[in-house]
Amino acid sequence: MNTEDTRRKSCQKASLICDKVQYQEATFFEKTKLLFHVLMCRMCRKYTQQNKKLTQSINKAQVTCMQKQEKETLKETLSRAIQEQQS
């Protein structure tokens, strides 16, 4: 029970680091820790692979979205048009 608990906790930590790695925010020490954990833990290994794949495909697709400001201006013009139509 106790060991189960600690294992879950270390997996949580590992996945947090793994997420950070995707945004280049993990430190070298954290990365080493992750590496050791991944060597032992199959679930986290799978998650790491999946996570990497997701990042790669997002980079590959070069998805963009509108800036917040652009959206706000668009919203304003649209709501004005809605009001015009209703009146």
């Binding site: 998650y47 997701l54 509108m66 919203k75 048009a81 809605i82």
Partner: protein
Amino acid sequence: MPKHKIDPNNWIDLYSDYLFNYTITRVNDRDLAKDLIQETFFAGLKSMKNFKGEASERTWLISILKRKIIDYYRKINSNKAKAEVRIKYNSDTESEGDWLEERVADPFDKTAEDTLENEELGEAIYSCLEKLPEKHAAVFKMKTIEGMDTETICNELNITASNLWVIIHRARTAMATCMEKNWF
């Protein structure tokens, strides 16, 4: 009172990112894409009464947007609008490119196919993003697509950093499962 109700006030929150991504892969110009989306929303507003609710709102808006994009290419009278296939083999007098090898597509030049695949990939990503809970999707978008700092997002949404990472983690897991199902 019709069975389906559409609310144009929510359009921008719900669909603008998807539509924008769809447009930008086709016209390759941010300002133009913005204009086209605005026109699409206006046109949608005008023909709201004709919307029968047979398709989802997004599909309906996309179909308007498609017309707008085609109209744009017609207006500038581009080659894309006048696209027709002309295949001639050996009819010109010039002998350059006579060899069959010169007429076969370059196997290393896969750009067109790649772009096409990337367009579809972008759409797949966005449709997966739509299935996430609203807040998770918002955080994921800010962090991954807009590339904002952790701190900026935390300040803006009034959450702690560890809170943000938990949301990111859940969003990533859901996205990975969704993409696994629909794409990979």
